[in-house]
Symmetry: D2
Subunit: 325 residues, 4 copies
């Protein structure tokens, strides 16, 4: 069986990672790739290491009215542009939107695949979760559902590699020399990622995520994302680890570790790592979550969602071990 | 006037940075450098760019009973080893201990120079603060003393460059390939840095630092340290900034910025940057502090302390602007 | 069909990369992993992202007399130690030696798989080429065999990521802080890699590689290797590119590009990239070769050799596209 | 004595480094800073760590007809734009042009300060040498003038940090994620830097630099530049080192080392390091040169030239030791 797949947004980091994963997928056949900045060039010009079978595919200019026959479309468009662009895609084409415009939107299923796979199977419009929410919610879900922490006053201190900010930065903000040897907090008390997390925390806990604090930081590395989450609860470390091991039993991509996870453990893979350190005397639980922001935080998660909606094994094309070192 | 200066621990990063600063100091004359791994070699073998005037100084094997005539000794020894080593230094030699053994210890003055310079003048035994406490306390002191935040339940999420972990790592833990493209939390809920911070927060606030949480992370960069500190208080951002600007008025090394500070702003300098983002509706104040972990977090601070105890202008040898990019 | 595979030297970078590739190989079944520093621990302790099927495999202490039933052994031992260690492996076990002790040694086949695959099929003792020679010889072979350059007076300016120097450096030489933001030539006019290259250049050209110059440099990146090779010959750029395209026609892993290749193009893959720039008026040909030093420069090449000696398709387990960015 | 100094091109890396050095210069007083992208903002907005005395200086829009009273202007403008811009600067203002437009141009003195300081004293229009030529010519000058190597068929394999390519790259080419973990040759057999080197090699040797080859590479580090230069000559390593030590005797910024130099040795300083490895049997001399591309390769060299034309001690403002680590 061959499933005909397309990517729009091939020039960006999310689109490029989707290409890498789809190229190695046993059931997906890439037949369409669109991207504004590279339109008209064969894939191999843009991706010199692309597998031979895809080398000659010519990058198309995006036009939702002129798509070839497709079973699934992966969309990796800048936030704010995908709503309109994807509205014109025929209903017969399943969509996984890696971008941020359709999360918790009517008609779209929020694709938190490691936690709610059953909600995703059989759907045709999937909104991939954001990279920060994925790492955070994967770490918190077992505690919230077990009542080991409360949903209020959670503090998320998040750190991401520079690829999370997108391609090189037309304004030089993410140039190598400016970004290397530099660590930058940004977006303090802004709310761009907050509704997605508040809504999901409320769904997981049945309570209100009031008082949520989220502080992202840019770290001088290409890939990788870690959240350090400070929660209120009187569980022990062992209780947290046990809850997570139970919650994710049988789930293929989430690993619960005794040690604090490091971003390199996940690099290039679709894995999530979670761990915990708790001090009941202080009513404190520290939850940690690690993903590759382009893997489980974007394209890997999208392929996992695509597997689910195509009724394929969830791990198809996603079994590659992380790169080390 | 020439002040005769020595360094013990010249082979480590703190000792090396002390050498760089002392080499450019208008009143200090380096006459002694000791270090186990380099003993017997001229300084220029170990530091190929050392100024000509110091090139021929031969690195000594450390022996506190055989010191030359010295006015000040900078000690940058591994934690746990300086107490005994420095006890045998003659009383006539002033000491600034960059290491951690003498902080809040009887007979030693805790050298938080940007905050308490008057406590330091005239003393002869100074314990340099730790790099994490410096960044944290510099950010918090204005708020604690003004009562804008409470001393309890403070959460410090700290990020440091790899030089904070010391030389290359005999066990390979800080090898380039293992550390690059990797972000690592460590030491969760351990207490090595806690007493220093708890004691000082209590002194600054007059209250108890109960519930303090401190989580350090290793960031793949050589230098730089940022703390993101989550506090309880109902001040506004403007009130916090104003308090800090008032508190540090006339102080030469602390800069209060409207924007979140970045580690590169301080690189190679003795500057501290602090900023704040507050949400009174949530009783939340986020304080941020940036230093170069080897500058204000170690050797720069030590030179500042040495200036104070020698009754020199506080900025002598420390006016170099940060490296950019 | 399942082929029973072992790795000795699992703790090193070459062994770890072999593990990653074998874990995704469709015909290899890892049943044995040995490594001194990790002996007694399950693989997942050392490699937190290892696939579930291998997670519980316990790392053995190396003992060639106590091997389990194996079809192939991959050896990634420090240079100078594998000759003795591998001499005691039973004849029934095929060996691919990633280390340097058996190159151009009697009884062992020099496994330059992209160039001489037919010499490798059916053999049982394969010496993997060194990472520098692979990149160099892959770039030069088409020109040498076509007589477009002469074999004498070739100058190889080589640049490798730090993983090429092995694990973190017990003496701190490859510590992050010492190595980051640093570029280091080393081993000038030394001869450790020379005989392998001289012998092979002579074999390819039928002439003498007299006057060969080889200068390696350590570049502050984890993976990647580029050689810039200055040769004497009066071919044009087009002639060189055409010769290489002809020479590697049908070969799956070598890509000839019009643009100068970049190390990131190969990262995490078994690909080699070669390109050329020539100026016949100056009798000059510049040949460039790029590999991932741990992929085609070590473990990827070893798996390719193992495929050849097991009469499997050459690309089994090696089709993963490079990581970007 | 205070010398009134201006900088045009303050927003770029060269201009920023000039600012850092001038801020610490004992005789220079910065009274003017111009830069298109930052015009109208105080310096401290753009450079948060600038010394207090300069913090309030407002960045001007460049207008050569509306300059304040200046003794010297440092120009760091994009190549191709400075010829016209600087032609309108009054004759009374001395100029050091860090950019490339005036090298070996009539009416301008080529400011190779470590080699020809006497040619620079008393002049008013100085063309700073390019970063690659500085490193190359500093390494070669002692050998060329002594006849230890010939001027023909020299091969320069050059490696520079990313800051050498200028600010972050409007087109994303030098974005962090694209550039990190990547090593890129570029500009093969192009001639942009060649005339400057050919002319100077001819002047130093009295012969022709025919057959010169120059291959630059971008290395994933912010600062630092190394050239590895392959020359023909039958000198020994010792003869080369001796020649260089003699040639640079008494010169303050050039260091001749037995070991191959590393880029980090020069980081943040105005130093040049040179070393040699020769094999008379092969008629081969390898010369190596290291500079900080923004220091001796740009702004440091410019300050040195400014010292010379102002008849100040050559080392004023340039004695800072390199940053380590």
């Amino acid at each position: 069986m061959s499933i005909r797949v397309g990517i729009v947004g091939i020039s960006g980091f999310g689109g490029g990672e989707a290409l890498r994963l789809i190229a190695g997928h046993p059931a997906f056949d890439l037949v369409y790739a669109a991207g504004d900045s590279s339109a008209g060039r064969p894939l191999i010009d843009r991706f010199p290491g692309v597998p031979h079978k895809l080398a000659g595919l010519v990058i198309a200019k995006w036009d939702p009215e002129a798509l070839p026959d497709l079973d699934i479309l992966f969309a990796s468009l800048p936030t704010g542009t995908s709503a309109e662009a994807l509205a014109r895609v025929p209903d017969s084409v399943k969509i996984v939107d890696i971008g941020g415009d359709h999360r918790h939107v009517d008609g779209w299923t929020y694709g938190l695949a490691d936690i709610w796979p059953e909600r995703i199977r059989g759907r045709t419009r999937i909104a991939n979760p954001g990279c920060f929410p994925v790492a955070t919610l994967t770490a918190l879900a077992p505690l919230l559902t077990a009542g080991l922490i409360g949903p209020g006053n959670i503090v998320i201190d998040a750190k991401t590699g520079i690829s999370g900010a997108g391609r090189g930065g037309g304004d030089g903000r993410f140039g190598y020399a400016e970004t290397n040897e530099n660590l930058q907090p940004y977006g303090l008390l802004e709310h761009v990622h907050m509704p997605e997390m508040e809504t999901t925390i409320a769904q997981l806990s049945g309570g209100s995520a009031a008082g949520l604090v989220f502080t992202p930081h840019l770290v001088p590395m290409t890939r990788g994302l870690l959240v350090t989450v400070y929660c209120r609860g009187n569980a022990t470390t062992t209780q947290c680890l046990d809850a997570a091991r139970g919650f994710y039993a049988g789930r293929p991509f989430v690993r619960v570790t005794d040690r604090p996870p490091q971003t390199k453990w996940a690099s290039g893979s679709n894995l999530s790592f979670v761990s915990y350190a708790a001090d009941p005397d202080r009513n404190l639980v520290i939850a940690m979550g690690v993903v590759d922001n382009l893997g489980k935080g974007a394209a890997g998660h999208a392929v996992q969602n695509a597997n689910l909606i195509c009724d394929l094994p969830e791990t198809f094309g996603l079994e590659g071990a992380p790169i080390w070192p």
